[in-house]
Amino acid sequence: MDGVAVGSLYALIALGYTMVYGILQFINFAHSDVFVLGAWLSYTLAVAFGYAAAGAHPPLAAGLLILVGAMAACGLAGFTIERLAYRPLRRAPRLNVLITAIGVSLLLQNVGQLKWFFGTQPQRMPSLIDDKILAVVAGVQIHLVDLAGAGTALLLMLVLDWLIFRTRMGRAMRAVSHDTAVAALMGINVDAVVSFTFVLGSSLAAAAGFLYAMKYPGLNQPAHATWVLLGLKAFVAAVIGGIGNVRGAMLGGVLIGFIELFGAAYLSPHLRDIYVFSILILVLLLRPSGILGKAVAEKV
């Protein structure tokens, strides 16, 4: 059950990586920091609403309000980052964009760590729902938190899938991702599509941050190495599923969650970070386009 819960979080983060990669062909290194921002904002909002006391579970609506608030704030952050840092470099070599993304990532981490923001102390997320064991199926305990987390993630993914494959904006996104120049010639406002993608990806990352904070309430300081690893694993999920492929990212996320937790349970819990990267190297060697990705020949 843990595998499904953690995997769906990876999937939510991986979606942001994969959508941006699909459209702009670059790895948005700052994406995992938006996820961290989401987790910390959820904490800040929960505390601001006065739910710090242990045991006092707020009504469900308040929890949803926190989730939506964090998603909106991170969506705005994503929009701002794209507008200020990435848009000026739209035609620059990829290496420069990559370095900028790392710069943005460092900026978010270290500004978040200043004492006017979240500080350098780890904090404890107030528990928003009562974590009880709902049922035991074949020896597997089903926790309410896991079920709520996986359910929210699944719901968001269904919404995203509908958005991308059933709406006008989604069609525009797919067109831009297919061929930016031609899409622009067909009258699609590429800048708007890119902005929309960033807002969408960032708010999904914020949702993942919220769910993560619910499941693992001990929040590390924003620049802590655990966050970096989480973001990296989500990226690996996107690569495994086939980068640029939205459904692949969902599949890859759940797969990574399972691999990690089964490896930790049956092989050695101390090496859990190593399994994921071994899988990454294997996939890069054997099938660089990922499970659901199409092999694309480099254009000359």
């Binding site: 670059f26 790895i27 840092a85 000026p88 470099l89 620059a92 070599p93 990829r94 290496l95 420069n96 964009v97 990559l98 370095i99 900028t100 790392i102 710069g103 943005v104 990532s105 460092l106 900026l107 981490q109 270290n110 500004v111 760590q113 200043l114 004492k115 620049a223 190495a225 970096v228 690893l229 990296l232 990226f235 690996v236 690569v239 101390h270 090496l271 970070d273 190593i274 990267f277 990454l280 190297i281 890069l284 060697l285 660089p288 480099e298 000359v300």
Partner: protein, 351 residues
């Protein structure tokens, strides 16, 4: 060979001079800073081979430094125990201890280059973005593995009795490898700085270096004119890893340093990347200047230390938007327009 002889001799002479004079003239703190600068110069110049010359993107350079540092540290520490029964420094210019230290640094550098080969081989076949991820992942995996090593053995009897594999895995874990003898001094730091600089500069202006640069400018075109891009990328990577390993060996044996996995995490890698990017992608002297400035700056701004990283990050973003090739770009300091007379053949500058 002959063309390198003069700069090598000059560099070694400077190293000897520094070693003899600096301690009494500027005091121990400045000596430590000078050593830090030297080590950072080696790191920045070597990363420049990959990120600047070849246009690939590695953000796991501290990982190779850690490999070199830990291997070298393990050899000198346990080697001293096995040879002399204790890990204290054996003084003297060419004493057994110094020779052991130099040998350990070279072995560390070799092992680091081997690690570079292993990491580079799969990822360099693919595009640069993947390399960035794999190198970052490599650094983090290494950190996790180092944190899981056992305590350092401290008494001679247990070292003598232990198997080689036990010694190789008793590296202090997350507390760090403490008790290493302080063999690093200005002489050896600047000898290795000289070697690094001469190799990097000679490489840049050789046909090899041009091939590296051609990959950076346009990989497809480079391949079309017969450059074996994969092989060259791996070579640049291995060479850079070797020098990073060397720097790690120097770092491990420096006074006042704790060789621990956290110190050599991705934060350190980013520090080195920032030196390369600010100094100029492909400029050896630019990397040297950036290494000097960025080593001294935190000391000067100690009271604002919490703003150091935000400012670096902002500088990185602004630099990419306003001057993407870095301060010096591909040029060396002595090639700057306002430094040289109007000579006919200018313009190695490329965008």
């Amino acid at each position: 060979m002959i063309r390198s002889a003069a700069p090598v001799a000059a560099g070694f002479a400077i190293a000897v001079l520094l070693q003899l004079a600096a301690g009494s003239v500027v005091g121990p703190f400045a000596v430590k800073l000078l050593m830090d600068i030297g080590i950072n110069v080696v790191l920045a110049v070597s990363l420049n081979l990959v990120n600047g010359f070849t246009g690939q993107f590695s953000i796991g350079h501290a990982g190779f430094m850690a490999v070199g540092g830990y291997v070298a540290g393990c050899i000198t520490y346990y080697g001293s125990f096995l040879l002399w029964g204790g890990a204290s420094v054996r003084p003297g210019l060419l004493s057994g201890g110094t020779l052991l230290f130099l040998g350990a640094c070279l072995v560390g550098s070799l092992v680091a280059s081997g690690a570079g080969f292993l990491v580079g081989l799969p990822s360099l076949r693919l595009r640069g973005d993947y390399l960035a991820i794999v190198t970052l992942g490599f650094g983090e995996i290494l950190r996790v593995m180092l944190q899981r090593t056992g305590d350092v053995l401290t008494d001679p009897a247990s070292v003598k009795g232990a198997a080689a594999t036990t010694l190789a895995t008793s590296l202090g874990g997350s507390l760090g490898f403490s008790g290493l003898p302080y063999y690093t001094n200005l002489l050896w730091v600047y000898v290795f700085v000289t070697v690094t600089l001469v190799v990097a500069l000679r490489l840049k202006f050789s046909s090899y270096g041009r091939a590296f640069l051609s990959i950076r400018e346009n990989e497809i075109a480079a391949e079309a004119v017969g450059v074996n891009t994969t092989r060259l990328k791996v070579r640049a990577f291995v060479l850079a890893a070797a020098f990073a390993g060397l720097a790690g060996g120097l770092f491990a044996h420096e006074v006042g340093v704790s060789l621990n996995p956290r110190e050599l995490g991705f934060q350190k890698s980013f520090d080195i990347v920032i030196m390369v990017v600010l100094g100029g992608m492909g400029s050896v002297s630019g990397a040297v200047l950036a290494a000097i400035v960025l080593t001294l700056l935190p000391e000067a701004l100690r009271s604002f230390s919490e703003f150091r990283m935000p400012i670096y990050a902002l500088a990185l973003i602004l630099m990419m938007i306003l001057r993407p090739q870095g301060l010096l770009g591909l040029r060396e300091v002595w090639e700057l327009p306002w430094l040289r007379r109007r000579s006919a053949g200018g313009g190695t500058e490329t965008a």
